[in-house]
Symmetry: C2
Subunit: 291 residues, 2 copies
């Protein structure tokens, strides 16, 4: 079968885009499209250009014997801005506030489109070049951790709260929540993480940092090292967390009468426009807690 | 900014492919690429052709006021064949057999590449045209349920085993496992599923069918209807399951001395080549259970 240039380019984009961080050799494409190396090289230049021009991520060339091309997901400043602002507006909506001052968030953190974007943002802002696994703890962080592992092309590891005998020999330990109020347990099969590994931790929510600290200790028990941590939402208090080396996308303040939700500026190395932040804050101010 | 045809086509493929089952209007693309409607229409014809020719799924046009184009993920026979055969080989590998005749599978069912493909296969073989949600029960089915919900462009709902007060008013019930050996509980916030909804159930493993039956009963309590069920692995015994309307991708027989793993032929409406099945079965026969 023969392919036109436009068809080859469409197909290359689809293949690279579906498989982030996976290296494809030039011969993979020459065989698939029954085309010369020079033809595919020209196609790849166009593909690179598409990704750059539309800020869809990066397509890079790796030289050498194991060489080829791969697609690295990267979100743009504009994309992060509008996505996080929109999320903050949704989160600060009045009907999310439950009695006990909890926020109903599972429709957002299970939404495949939202978590796909969150995964790409984590992959754009955490250095995973040396990582072997993405690690999360059940349950609510799993969807975004999976999408992060997809963007990073790394296996996902899920720490369980209970011991599951059906997974073989398992390492279990307890940890204390950030506010010292509870002792929780976590467990993971011995086979799940190889000694000497480097891991990225992902979780949906952090108040005191007890869970992330516990996960870090569990990794130490496996002889593994945490080299990056991504949290979706952090609370503004306590200001002192049990962990300090993490990025978080959204900060929530539920201490006062209003719930304030804002994108976490510290995470990104660029400034938000003042009016964008103002807009979100104003919106949040309108929401009175109904108790 | 102006775009060349090849660039527009690359970009359209990326956008459609990243957002399955989402409708994009012609004007979305004319504005994005600063191009005439006729130009974009021609681009879309090329894009359709790429997807057809390389069996990457379908791009369809929806006419009318809410019209536009959307991408529907579809896996090809060849893709299903080679993917499931490869998985069956991996599953029947000797080092997966744990004491108690359990199989270690979490590296596979948490693998982002594996579950992305599983999600596309479910979306290709379950009719979700009227569905409102994809529903699963924690924990091991979550990754493949998320990828199914992404392919179907539907929200994901996760049933919890414990009651979580932090999610607001919650409906809880008990169910009996398929072999009548255990009573388990499941719970879901009232807000998670709207009355009158239609849902697709996804789970990683089914022996007797008790969990799927329990999930179906829970959906009835929500006034929702199950219109399709996808299970990754079923066991060959008991042959009589508590549910009958489901598709399953892989069947495991752990009753004899050997563990037999094979693609579940009933799921697909086409025949597997005899030699492909033979090959997998032979491989499985070599694995003696080490007890």
């Amino acid at each position: 079968m023969k392919f036109k240039r436009t068809e080859r380019i469409g197909a290359i984009v689809k293949i690279l885009s579906d498989n982030p961080n996976k290296i494809y050799t030039l011969s993979y494409f020459t065989e698939k499209f029954n085309a010369a190396k020079s033809t595919i090289s020209e196609d790849l230049l166009v593909v690179k250009n598409v990704f750059e021009k539309l800020q869809l991520g990066k397509v890079i060339t790796i030289s050498g014997a194991a060489g080829g091309v791969k697609y690295i997901p990267k979100t743009s400043k504009e994309e992060n801005n509008s996505f996080l602002m929109e999320l903050c507006e949704k989160i600060s909506s009045n009907d999310r506030i439950l009695s006990g001052r909890f926020l109903y968030l599972i429709d957002l953190i299970y939404d495949p489109t939202v978590v796909a974007k969150v995964g790409k943002i984590f992959a754009s802002n955490i250095d995973y070049s040396e990582a072997d696994y993405v690690v999360t703890m059940e349950t609510k962080g799993i969807p975004m951790a999976l999408m992060t592992s997809k963007a990073m092309n790394l296996p996902l590891v899920i720490i369980r709260k209970d011991i599951k005998v059906s997974e073989g020999p398992t390492l279990s330990m307890t940890y204390v929540t950030g506010d010292n109020s509870k002792v929780q347990s976590m467990s993971l099969p011995r086979k799940a993480v190889k000694p000497g590994s480097k891991v990225i931790l992902i979780d949906d929510f952090m108040r005191g940092g007890g869970t992330i600290k516990g996960m870090t200790q569990l990794m130490t028990e496996f002889g593994a090292e945490v080299i990056g941590t991504g949290v979706f939402i952090t609370t503004s208090t306590p200001t002192e967390k049990l962990v300090d080396d993490y990025i978080s996308l959204i900060e929530i303040d539920t201490e006062g009468n209003e719930i304030n939700v804002k994108p976490n500026l510290k995470t990104f190395n660029y400034e938000y426009r003042e009016d964008e932040i103002e807009e979100v804050m104003e919106h949040a101010d309108e929401d009175e807690i109904d108790e």
